[in-house]
Structure formats: C-alpha cells, structure tokens
Point group: C2
Chain length 452, copies 2
C-alpha cells in the first residue's frame, strides 16, 4: 500500500539532487538521487533495484510479469546537465520553484519531470486498479547527459530481464505552441575536444609575436575551416551517408512550420533576430534533419579583465557533431580528426580527445504502436499530435533497437520553451500532470494488442 | 646621509608589491609600491614626490638642478603584468627568490630591476662623490602595462619641471647571449577586444544547432580572417605606412642573427620546434620590424571538464596589434573595426571595445648621445653593444618626443631569457649590478657634453 501522492512535491524532491553526470564531484549526489528514485518506484508497487556500473548506477523496476501481456519498457534518466552559468538563473538551479504554472529547476524537463510522470502514472493505475494493462519495466540511467557510456553494456548484460515488445521514452519536447507530438527521428551525436599546444609557456606577444605560431589563432583557423560560407560542413565525406528527406517528411515539416509560427517561433525561443544555417532547408529541417558541427566551448590565453599581452601556450575547442540517419559517429569522428590534422600548421602540436558518441535514430510513426502512442497523446492533451523530428540526441535508441530488438516511441512532455540545458530550465505543470494521464491511457491502448 | 646599500635586498622589497595595474583590486598595492619607491629615491638624496593621477600615481624625483649641466630624464615603471597562470610559477610570483645567479619574481626584469639599477647608480654616485655629473630626473609611472593612459597628460602638465636634454630608458632586453644592446626601435601597440553576442542565453546545441548562429564559430571565423595563408595581416591598408627596412638595418639584423644563434635561439627561448610568420623576412626582422595581429585571449561557451552541449550565447577575443614606424594606432584600430564589422554575419551582434594604444618609436643610434650610451654599455658589460630593434612596445617614447622634444635612448638590462610577462620571470643578478655600473658611467659620459 503506497502513501497518498502529491506529484509536485515528488518532483521537487527529485529536482533537489544536483545529479550532474559530467562533474566528478557529483558522484555521491548521483548515488543519492538513484536511491531516492529506487525508493519511489518501490513504494509505487514495483520491484525496484539499483545496479552499479563503472559510472553512475542504473535503476531498474518491474511490475509483476504476466506472460499473457505485452511488455513495455519505459526509459528515462535521472542525471542532468551542469547548471552554469549560475549567475543567469533567477533562483538557484537545485532549489525548485513553482511560478505561474511552471516548475523551475535543472532537470525539470530534461528528464526528471518526464520520467517521473510515467512513474506516477503507473503508480496511480496500480493504486486505482491493482494491476497494469501491460507488463512495465522502468529503466532509468544516470549517464544520459554524458552519452550513456555504460548503458549499452548494461543492456547486453541484462537483455533477458529487459526483454520487451517496445520502448517508450519521454525525453523530447512537444511541438511549438505546446501541441502534443510524436518524435520519429532524433539526431546522433559525436563529441570531440582538441587542444593546440604551442610554446612551452605563455610568451610576451611583443617579444615573440610574428615568429611563433599563436595557438589561439590556430584554433580559430581550424574552427573556421569547419564550415563553408553557405553553412555546410566542409569535412570530406560528412554528408555521404545522410538520408534525404522524403516528400511526406517535407510536407510534415512544412505543416509543423505553418502550425507553429515556424521561424519566428524559433527566433523568439532562441532570443535572436535572425536564423542562419545550411542553404536549401528550412530552419525546422536544418534542426531536425540535417547534421551540424557546433562549437560548445573554446578558450585560450588571458581570460580576465583588461589586456594581457601574451601569446598563449595553448588553446582548446570542444565540438559536437549532430548526425542524422545513416551517418556513423565513429566514421565522422575519424573524418573530422583527419580533416583537422591535415590543416594543422607547423609550429604547433594538435591533440585530439574523442568524446562520447551515439548513432542517429529514425522510426516509423505509422506503425500500430505508433498509432497507439498518438492516440494516448491526443486523449491526454486533447489535440491531434504532430509528427516531428528532433534535433537533440538520445543515443540509447540505437542501442535499444540493436540489443533488445524493439522500436522506441518518443512522446515528449517538455514545453518548447522549457529551456533545457539553459538557465531557468522549467516544465509546465500542466504538461507534467498531462504526462501522468498520458501514461495511463498509453498503457491501456498498448494493452489492447495483448495476446490474451 | 643615506644608509648603506644592499642592492639585492632593495630589489626584493620592490618585488614584493603585487603592483598589477590591470587589476582594479590592486589599487592599494600600487599606492604602497609608489610610496616605497618615493622613500627609496628620497633616502638616496633626491627630491622625490608622488603625484596622483586618475589611475596609479606617478613618482618623480630630481637631483639639485645645476643650470650648467645637461639634464637626463630616466623613465621607468613600477607596475607589473598579472602573474597568471599562477600554477606555472616554480615559487609564488610576489615572493622573490634568488637561485643560480638570478632573482625570480613578477617584475624582476619588467621593469623593477631595471629602473632600480638606475636609482641605485645615482644613489651610489651621490654617496661617493656628493654630486652628479648631470642633472637627473626620475619619472616612474604605474600604468605602463596598461598603455600609460595618464602619462601623456602628466607630461604635458609638468613639461616645465620635466624639461630635459634626453631621456634614458632601461625597459628592454639585452641581445641574445646576454650581449649589451642599444635598442633603436620599438613596436607600437593597439589593443581591442571584441564580443560576439548571439542568442539570449546558452542554448541546447541539439535543439537549436543548425538554425542559430554560433557566436564561438563567428569569433573563430573573424580571428581566422585576420591572416592570410602566408602569415600577412589581411586588414585593408594595414601595411600602407610601414617603413621598409634600410640596407644597414638588414645588415644589422643579419649580424645579430649570426651572433645570437638566430632562429634556434628564439626557438629555444620560446620552447617551440618551429618558427612561423610573414614570408620574406627573418624571424628577427619579423619580431622587430614587422607589424603583427596577435590573439592574447579568447573564450566562449563551456570551459569545464567533459562536454556540455550548448550553443553559447556569446564569445570574445582580445587582440593586440604590434605596429612599426610609421603606422598610426588609431587608424589601425579603425581599419580593424571596419574589417571585422564588414565580415560579421547575420544573426549576431558584434561589440568592439577599443583598448590602449601607443605609437611605434624609432631613433638614430649613431647620434652623439647614442654613441655615449653605447660607450657606457661597453664599459659596464665589457662587450661591444649590438644595435637592435625590439618587438615590444613602450608607447611613452613617442609621447616624450612629442611633448618634451627629446630623443630616448634604450639601454636594456633584461637577460633575453628573463621570461617577462611569463611565469618565472627573472633577472640575472649580474645584469642588475652591471646596470648600476652602467648608470654611473653613462651619466659621466653624458656630462662630457655639459655647457660649462
């Protein structure tokens, strides 16, 4: 028998953990967060356990298995992005705050609020009906924001107990205007950092400038070489495996554009006056269906106030490539490395550190489970869901397909202005509560295909 | 009557002040340093005073004026560069340390050790002989490292009491191999910082990447545009006013190259395996006689460990141009701004912050005072001085010529491996003590031209 629920209080408790997976100092916060989650699942009436990995633990929970029912795996993650720049938050990122129908805090939308909606949906159904219309497995990891380095081997090691008929994931956004949406494609990702090493130490830029290669200039020239003037990535072979948009996809993208306010909506969300990018594609197509090379960070030399006349000893850049079907992240990282090395001038040493990566994912929103998912969204949010592509990356989708042999259905609950990865991340409370409703209807719909 | 001197202890006391002029938090340290200096000059037998400015104070000291004698103005500065990166210092930058014939500390060579040698030379002469062979004025400022923003107006306001026949400055280095040198040209400087503003906040690079201009990429492309593949600055008009090297100068540069170990010596000092730069000039010529555009610092986006998949809201670069006669710093800054603005793509806003600047300086080492200066160097250091150009900048030289109407003679005391502006800055103690000897001989030589 579980205690009465207060969904918002549960979410606040969940959000208070600074479960930042990229920060080695947060290891114990991640452990504590996993512990809280396991307890929550367990008190909801599921059999829950914490599994150690070389990194953050994985939380797994299952309802009592009924062989006559289909099995739905619900995936989510309890880790979050770093909150910096801290000074840009209205209130501290790990002190959740409710204001004007939203809950603010790092992880509110990505992904704590979304996975918790599913947990609370299952919990309510169990409390109200005593059983679920399908078998449910929750798989909640703590390393999504760093590319899920240990989840693939976890899936392989536990493929028996994770055996399922389909996967459901809420880790994407609704369509502009907060319309419900099914996401049928996500971009892959490939991260790399490079460091250009120059002189043995910072030099006086007057006494050496003109004769010694400046690592900051070299980094700038390498970064500048990544794109041509039309916004296309210049790495040889980069576009070779890119699947072209089919006619129905371009129609869907145009419909979304029309329904959503298109470019002006994106501009408003981003806070820019003009959109840019690869020619020949709309902004929605560029974000969802075209690969990119983005600088996530760069630095070198003097960072303080005023001037310091140094020729810096080194400089760095952090890059991620976003990839679409059927680009291979490892081939892209190889091609990028070759491209950068080929342009490195004399007088410096280029160090390349490959980062995490994950394959792009694409599925069919017209399958029978896709139709069930769209029905649940329509009923819970009282609007016909849109079919869209998402520019973000959930590398685990490709792994789930490869190892568990099932498709994933992406039913995003984040409002489009949820500011995920940014200061003042938030989730509309209506989306959170709607997510709980949606979970209940979805399991009901999926259960209609049970063998029994 | 002054107390007995211990030159090295005096220098250590001077070096303990963290008189960092670019750091607003060091204002009281600069004041304290000026106070120490004033007391030192006063106890040496000079009439010394501290003059407030809108920035750091100026210290002025004069010997008793004898109208039958020529007047020599000795200029120096008591402010220093920031010490970062702190972790690269063997011992703390403001705790002077003597080791293997050198004294280590921020400012040891640039410029505390050099100006103190002159002060102690005058002090010794006064103690030993009761009077000086020439009238001496010390002018020691506290804003050289930020471009002497208040010195020009100070010179104008005090041009009567600063009236002199020539200026002497030791703020340069000896020639490679620690051979004495007279520096007949210095580069000018023009500093600017630019910031590229993009979205209203850091964005998720997956959800917006491909449609929103990335400020880090824009900064990189602007920086990359500064040079062509042959190492020449691409700003239109940049080279228009550059004075060509005369045949005797190219001979002098070649002689210096031969005497000094040339490129291999520069490589060793810089800790690089290869030199680069503008084609058609030797490394010594590129540093001394050719203008440059150097990135002193740049940054944007995520700076921490690991990956953060943001599209940063802004990015910056700090630049300095080193200029040669007869380039005009203000025209160069204007041309640079126009060049950068002309290339700024849509979707971002370019903010340009002009920094300090100073004109290049060039004088004739074959004048009679130039010959006297070379004699003093030869006698104090027992080697024929080399005539050289220095890649650094002392903008005040152009102001001294303009306002006081005199030439400056540059008698550098820093050993070439003194690491000025870098961690482990140091001064050979022999150079410091030789500088004291040189001052005594120099004033004697210059006094031979007295009217009386």
């Amino acid at each position: 028998m579980s205690t009465p629920q207060n969904p918002l209080e549960d979410l606040k408790s969940f959000l208070r953990f600074p479960s930042i997976s990229t920060d080695p100092l947060c290891a114990s916060d991640l452990e504590a967060c996993a512990g809280w989650l396991c307890k929550k699942l367990s008190s909801s009436g599921l059999g829950a356990s914490i599994h150690a990995t070389p990194g953050s633990p994985v939380v797994v929970a299952s309802s009592q298995h009924d062989p006559s029912k289909r099995t739905v795996l619900i995936y989510g993650h309890y880790d979050v992005q770093p909150p910096d720049p801290l000074e840009s938050w209205t209130t501290p990122p790990f002190e959740p705050r409710v204001s004007e129908g939203r809950i603010y805090g790092r992880g509110a939308a990505d992904n704590k609020g979304q996975i918790l909606a599913h947990i609370l949906g299952v919990s309510q159904t169990l409390r109200e009906k005593g059983s679920l219309p399908v078998n449910v497995i929750f798989l909640v990891e703590g390393e999504e924001e760093i590319g899920s380095p240990n989840l693939k081997s976890f899936l392989s090691a536990h493929r028996g107990e994770l055996s399922c008929d389909l996967a459901v994931i809420s880790d994407t956004a609704m369509a502009p205007g907060n319309r419900p949406a099914i996401t049928y494609a996500l971009r892959g990702i490939a991260a790399m950092e490079f460091i250009v090493h120059g002189p043995a130490r910072d030099l006086h830029s007057g006494l050496f400038g003109g004769a010694v290669a400046n690592p900051a200039t070299v980094v700038a020239r390498l970064l500048a070489s990544l794109h041509d003037d039309a916004g296309r990535v210049r790495i040889p072979g980069f576009y070779d495996a890119v699947r072209s948009l089919t006619p129905w996809e371009r129609v869907a993208a145009a419909a979304l554009e029309a329904a959503s306010g298109g470019e002006s909506a994106i501009k408003e969300l981003a806070g820019v006056t003009e959109l840019v990018g690869e020619r020949g594609f709309t902004a929605i197509e560029r974000i969802g269906a075209r690969p990119t090379a983005e600088v996530n960070g760069m630095g070198g030399g003097y960072q303080g106030l005023g001037t310091k006349t140094v020729l810096p000893k080194d400089a760095f850049a952090k890059l991620t490539f976003r990839l679409v079907a059927d680009q291979d992240p490892l081939l892209i990282l190889e091609a990028a490395e070759k491209f950068l090395r080929g342009q490195t001038p004399p007088g410096v040493v280029l160090e390349i550190i490959s980062g995490h990566y994950g394959a792009p994912y694409q599925s069919d929103p017209h399958s029978s489970d896709g139709v069930a998912a769209r029905k649940a969204l329509a009923a819970a949010f009282e609007a016909e869901p849109i079919m869209l592509r998402d520019g973000g990356s959930i590398p685990i989708l490709a792994d789930i397909r490869e190892i568990l042999g099932v498709n994933s259905y992406l039913l995003g609950l984040a409002n489009p202005d949820s500011r995920i990865h940014s200061p003042d991340e938030n989730l509309l409370i209506e989306n959170f509560l709607g997510g709980i409703r949606m979970n209940k209807i979805l399991l009901e719909e999926l259960g209609k295909k049970n063998l029994g």
